[in-house]
Symmetry: C2
Amino acid sequence: MTPRPKKTSYHHGNLREELVAEGIAILETQGAQALTMREVARRLGVTQTAPLHHFESKSALLAAIAAQGFRQLFDHRMAALKGKRDPDERLMAVLMAYVEFALAHPALYHLMHGPEIPDKTLHPELNDAATRSYSLLEAAVGDYLIAHEGSMARSREATLGIWTVCQGVATVLTNPQNTPRYVLRKDPMGFSRRTFETFIRGVSGR
Amino acid sequence: MTPRPKKTSYHHGNLREELVAEGIAILETQGAQALTMREVARRLGVTQTAPLHHFESKSALLAAIAAQGFRQLFDHRMAALKGKRDPDERLMAVLMAYVEFALAHPALYHLMHGPEIPDKTLHPELNDAATRSYSLLEAAVGDYLIAHEGSMARSREATLGIWTVCQGVATVLTNPQNTPRYVLRKDPMGFSRRTFETFIRGVSGR
DNA sequence: TGTACATCAGTGAACGCGCGTTCACTGATGTAC
DNA sequence: TGTACATCAGTGAACGCGCGTTCACTGATGTAC
């Protein structure tokens, strides 16, 4: 968006970060299949081999992009929590922020969760960022359970269940193949909220 | 699995169907990235251009494979329904059969739902097969609601919600990146069932 | 403050790969008469 | 029943593409003395 400063020197100065940012930009504008080493270099006005000085392979770049995605997701969810005190509200905010992120950045979302990066534990930066994001949900579910049941005994499975529903909502909204559109088109956020509410009601109503 | 009959004649006789079957076999054994026109031809002992006499392009083959997947999914779900009368049981059977299918054929499942085939409505055969499978769920939810509420008024949204949860379960189980494994490893089917039960409890408990 | 030199981060040409698809062809099959 | 011929479904060579990556190079930077 902001115009890139003209290249004045042989050395770029900031290429590593820009590669990641431009990679995300490609995902947003052209989709996953356009995200190649060469295209990133092209768009930054740099030789096609320059990126290899910062990422040893394409997988390494993808991992860095996905990690950055998880950091953005984390920030977005934190922002949604800000100022909210009620555990019910906080849980819903964390969930809705997740869905918003997926809808706003579908290609990035899919890179983050898809099979393009076969083993995320090989990339510690990515692994950390993903774990931190999941922990946000875990904490919100924990607080919710404490408030409603006075115990976190069922927290682990409850978190996993809600996480699963969250993945489902994001998947369906992001990739509406094979899903009837009537509700989704009209009011995706309302649909998401009601789906979460239904599940949470099921968790409580035991 | 069963040995292919030796090619005795110039004409193959059954190539179209075998291309689809072999495509599925490639997905099961080597994954999506190995599913190329050339590989299918290679494995059938046929020239790399022979498939083009049956499918005008790779997309057409992918669509036929996905359609076959939906037919198999439909059959599997029908088999799970067989002999069951209770609406609760029938709904759960349809859902669990879906998850079983996804777990048994993850690569096929992803082809069926992923972005490899950009617009499924362009392929009527695929579209029909997918619709038929979704209708199974719709019917099961309808019967469930009639039994419990005496009305199908909320059927459409309830189906969509349950479908969403189902997608979530299949996604999480099929692609366990970023998902804690403790429960999934131990008892994926138990986890699936409890997740569905929780949501259905939420639907009823309004 | 100046200088030698190692290291960093670019360039530009090229390699090799597998892919989908095209093209001209030919053997096999089925149908009209 | 036999034959001419259109059509179907294979073959095999080749094209052109974009990709990730390698290689040898060179300009810029930073540090030791």
